[in-house]
Point group: D2
Chain length 303, copies 4
């Protein structure tokens, strides 16, 4: 059973994951990244970018619900939402579950990738791109935020980690976040996927924490576990006035029931709060590790 | 950097983990199992039994604190504690942190393994074997429980998964649990490590849940994430009268401060409750999957 | 560069080969075997049957020329040739280079495989299937040999190793070879690919040697090296009257020049003889190892 | 059986070998290189330098006999022999089998490695270091050759491939070989291990060929197969007046019988000549590939 085709993911230089491949659905390169869409035995259909797992059929909903709904249910009435990245369309799919949303804007630099996801991974967007409330722009998210005259209730950062000369290096800096802050409404909320929450390499989430603290009055980190990443995963959320950890449990119950609880496979009201109980090693890392990321002091991800 | 010595763990037939090895500290076999104690780059000193990771220096405290303290802080005054398995001595170490404990009994069938752990992994027991409250017996835990005349406040099952013809097959059955129930005090609590909490193979925890429900009035599952297992991990806890999810937060605060909060690296009062917010897929599995395990219908772990 | 898709070949339980995959050209199953046709980085287009490498673009010509031409140049005038197996069509291609050949019969049980090779690996047969001298039968080679009324000058066994319940188990037995002997002309030659010539597992070639010695007066083993197999490879050749090691060098020169030396990429007259200089460990193995293979004492390949 | 400790050899960026490890005998670093002496399942005790296999118990004799005896039996009466490299002591062992030898000088830069080999791999030298004819110098072979006033009948280059900033970069250049030429007696012979003879990367042997042709009138390449390297392996031999391919077969028979044929496990008179029948792709590579290696145009091995 060992014989045959495997995909090797170099998690770090000393930890490798091998996935048995059932089928190569697509394998190629866009202008920005190497793309592999594979059917792998343990996780089903799975997207790899630059040989790193991005999302897998078995549990992409955990990642996307955790990323989207903490912010969406913390905001009392999110009407305008901006997504940076999110090429698979699943973040958009989750945003659109909220009937309060009038406009959901998604900005992804990699049009080819979005088209590959549409063609080969339609389960991810599940029709989201056709929703009349959706607007898709293929451009650099930083430029988009700098140039927009709109103000958003919720901004979601669903970006790949900033690898050397990758497209997302300038999307995590203090300078960018201070512009972004001004494109949020007065009770606006910003949330970002913040990478692995493991004890070995917490520098990325710690740096995001340090950086956002220079801009936002309220910054919190929450976590969950991503089976297909083989890692605990962190998210960082920042509010101008709202503290997502102090939202009323009863109001979340009310709103989720209005929408229909069945639409949510991972997120539920008590989970909203449980995710903020992060392990002590991560609390310490937020205080003791990381840097304030700046345009001229970027954070570069290295394994 | 790829070249060199690696340890391969066959997580399942379609998912392999490769760890870079710095040093083989010990490699051999006891009467019961293959034992490898390695210094591996990602996790430091690590114990493998039958080629499966058991505990690693980087985060063994998460597993052991999660296993021990939910039960110990749920019980109002645990004096007598029984540990089944737990060869590394770290479960014992955690139990002994509670000053209420007068007697901590550990029963492990594999004396050679315990001695190897004492010699090569002293950080795990941290002196626990020398504590005057400790009693160690090298015998089959089932026989011990059946024959003992003692009654325990807390019983902790820190056993390896039941593999074919392995020593723990008869330690998860309804028959055994009904004997064990009678060796618990009136407000006694039983807790067990219950294996992976991933969405692919939840059958073990689901079967434990079904089995314990036939014996105990209160059975709850909680989870956390084990970085070195690359998995979310489940624990199952059962009470005769106490519901560990409904203990008072303030009373945990009080007791943990009496002991000294600094002694706990992972467990803290809010985490106690957060761990009970398990994902929906696991809730469903508890209802829909698994079997009632019996002496003549054993559960055998297969990857 | 480590990240990405690899094919794993379990050479033995303690020796694995990993090939970087550029493209999966075909992956599926026939009635008889698992078939993977891959473009792998080190070797180009490559055929795997049941996860074992069969032939690779970079050096299939070495295998096929070594298999075919020693026999063909040893026989003074081979007109009728029978190939058992040889699904890729490359053995047929080599046979047809000899202008003396009037009829080249190929018998392969796996029609689906032959069609896959025709479609995806046309470089291997290079038009051989369309040659007017070719006859292809999709049937069991043993039955074909037993039932044919024809007599052949050269018979070539290009079969996969006899794995448990595989189709070739009955094609290496004393009983079969004694039938085959009678379907050879008086100066007929039989040649077979005889598996790895490594020092660890020489049992297959040794058993073929022992078995053929019970039938043929002249039996010789020769070898070469297959880069894409990562192994030295053995062939066994048997004559009724001709000793292939004692053919005249000058007559081979003459004939190869008549055909056109350029047509041969690996075989050349001095190589004909050099290949018979096998290493001493292999000479010893031929004497000391192996069994006489019989219908009721089959040889089964195990790694 | 897959689980456990493996050694990974990165043969090239697209071809990896995995060996099951039974025991790590020694693992460390000398001043010059990483050293691993392992007991691996397929090959027994095995030496790896910088994560590349060097010699394995199962077939080191093939490499060492092929390297040494072609030169030694080609020279009519080799009395003084110089070995460059050869830290394991097995090349020395083979040289000393010739009773004509009065003095065998071995020059290896890595004294620590030689001592590790003596301690952990005594089977390799088999007492050679204690032979009264042996002289061992721990210094740079180039300096030794430049400074020596002696003249040798046979010089043997048993050096690792020239990797970036490794110790052997200056030991394959035209400048060095022209000095070395003058330290050979009038009928002197130089032989070198010349790396893999595979069809993908024949540049090293081709460059050695081009380089030696500028110095020696007679330069020939021969090959054999190294099972534990999983490769065909090349050797290059150069004579001032003697052509090792045109030595008399009968004289080799005579001399080997004088010594005692039983002492030779791989080499035998016919094999001497068979090894010169190299494949055509290698012949072509010798003509078409490679460079003349010079001090300021070094050959650097890259995988």
């Amino acid at each position: 059973m060992l014989g045959g085709v495997w995909f090797v993911e170099k998690h770090t230089h000393s930890l490798l994951f091998y996935y048995k491949v059932k089928k190569i659905i697509y394998s190629g390169k866009t202008k920005y990244q190497k793309v592999d869409i594979l059917d792998i035995e343990p996780f089903g259909k799975t997207l790899f970018l630059d040989d790193k797992i991005q999302s897998a059929q078995i549990d992409e909903y955990i990642y996307h619900e955790a990323l989207v709904h903490v912010a969406m249910f913390s905001h009392p009435n999110p009407k305008k939402v901006l997504i940076m990245g999110g090429g698979e369309g699943a973040t958009l799919r989750e945003v659109l579950k909220h009937s309060s949303v009038k406009e959901a804007v998604m900005v992804d630099i990699d049009e080819e990738l979005v088209n590959l996801c549409k063609e080969y991974m339609p389960e991810w967007n599940n029709g989201a791109f056709e929703d009349s409330r959706s607007r898709i722009y293929y451009t650099d998210a930083r430029r988009f935020v700098e140039e927009t005259n709109n103000v958003y209730d919720v901004i979601i950062s669903d970006l790949t980690e900033p690898i050397e000369s990758g497209p997302s290096v300038k999307l995590f800096t203090k300078e960018f976040y201070s512009v972004l802050y001004n494109k949020l409404s007065n009770d606006g909320i910003f949330v970002a996927q913040a990478g692995s929450a493991d004890p070995l390499y917490p520098n990325f989430v710690a740096s995001l924490y340090k950086t956002l603290k220079t801009i936002f009055p309220i910054v919190k980190v929450y976590w969950t576990f991503m089976f297909s990443f083989q890692l605990p995963w962190s998210f960082i959320i920042a509010g101008k006035t709202i503290d997502p950890e102090n939202v009323k449990l009863t109001s979340i119950f009310e709103r989720i029931n209005q929408i229909n609880r069945e639409n949510f496979k991972f997120y539920y009201p008590n989970m909203h709060f449980a995710m903020f109980s992060i392990p002590n090693y991560l609390k310490s890392a937020l205080e003791e590790k990381g840097i304030v990321i700046k345009d001229d002091v970027p954070f570069i991800w290295r394994a």
